[in-house]
Amino acid sequence: MKYALLIHEDHSHYQDEESWQDIIRRHNEFGQKHGSAIVGGEGLNGPETATTLRRNGAETMVHDGPFAEAREQLGGFYLVDVPSLDEAMSIAKDIPLAGEGSIEIRPCIGED
């Protein structure tokens, strides 16, 4: 079963080069450890680069910013393919974070 591991954290942790390099290194280590389970994933540019389209019936409004204003924002995700939620939770526990943050685990809808 595939799971999206959605990483929510405070983007301001990565403003300086040193912490940026550090988290990249840690994500590489994570990728090596769980490479066989990971089937996809990306890091995202900051929420200030987000554009949100809100549709209300036929009307579409463009919002300069993320879907919801919050200190912790979606900053990246992994897609893993594992047999159970236990495995997905175990992998999610290893995802590096610079400070506080959350990993939301969402099972993907299957093909059948």
């Binding site: 047999p83 159970s84 939620l85 236990d86 997905a88 099972p107 059948d112």
Partner: protein, 402 residues
Amino acid sequence: MAGPVDLAAIVGGKRLRIVAALSARFGNLDLAEDAFSEACARGAALTEAPRDWAAWLYTAASRIALDELRHTKVVREHRLGAAETEEGEMGETELIPDRRLALIFACCHPAIDIVSRVTLALSTICGFTAEQVARASLLSPAAVSQRLVRAKRKLAGGGIVFEIPDPRFYGERLEAVLTTLEIAYSRPHSSSATEGSDPLLARQVLEFARLLIELLPDEAEVLALAATLHFSEARRGARTDADGAMIPLAEQDPGLWDGELLNAARHCRSRIGLDNELTPRLIQLELQHAWCARKTAEDAPPWPRILQLYDRLLELDDNAFARLNRIVALERVEGAASAWAEFETLPAGQLENVPAYHAVKADLLASRGKLAAARAAYDAAITLQESDAEIRWLTAKRNELA
């Protein structure tokens, strides 16, 4: 037809086995329970009773579930091969795969909110109706139904598999099962953690604990919890006086304890291997065992042993509640002065909303002759306390200080 068939009575303890086998087979508890209900309805309309009701219901419910899956076009080819879909009438209950443990692990998965887990366990494992769960857990029937629907959706779509957990996750998963049982017994939000609640609920939870022993006969933590719950339940009849006021453990009349439940508790305890590492749950059991060793109302409470056990507990699990309980024993063993010195080191901020904190404080103040302060502390405890029996007891203690 001779008359209405009481399938619930006929199927009895087999319900769980059938629902578990269906859940594991189809990976869907909701579907399993619906198919089982429908099979029961069809069974009740039969003119001639089948040779083996459980086997008949399992076969009928399997067919109903398959029809439902075909109807909703979500038949997963890999799970429902041709051989499985074309089975004949089964004759023997024993042929129903025993997947009860897998179902218990699934319903008590740590990714399900603890209150929902308790609700699901009471409903699916113990067979309570939503109304019974509501009455036992102090939630509204609507809240119970909503929690059940959400939890079952998560079970169906969240990747919680109906299998015995992998050894890497086994410890954590078993802990989640045991916590669910503990909270189901003591009722969520209860301040008197092991004192139990509704008698019907308590009986069902004990049965759940016994089932868990049957399925995991060598697990020390399971035996320890089952023994603790049996000890606690054995004292039900001695916990309140004729006016409905609580009688503290140390003052209870052992003649009013239930001998059968005590024996069951001691039997569980005797099955625990001596080479097991000491855990907080094993110490809790030893505390219960020590309390229940008194034979008559004249026997002195085992305070020195209780103090010793709380010392051991704090070595393993230092928390404010255990320290508060230890202080009660310390007062009886070493006197109010030592106990007060310890009391002053407690994290007051963490305990100020706990009625027992104020009750212990009141008792220590009274022992040291500070009656006005003691009365104020009893008042604080009475205000916070929700249990009628404990309010009556606290009020009586307060009034003794006149």
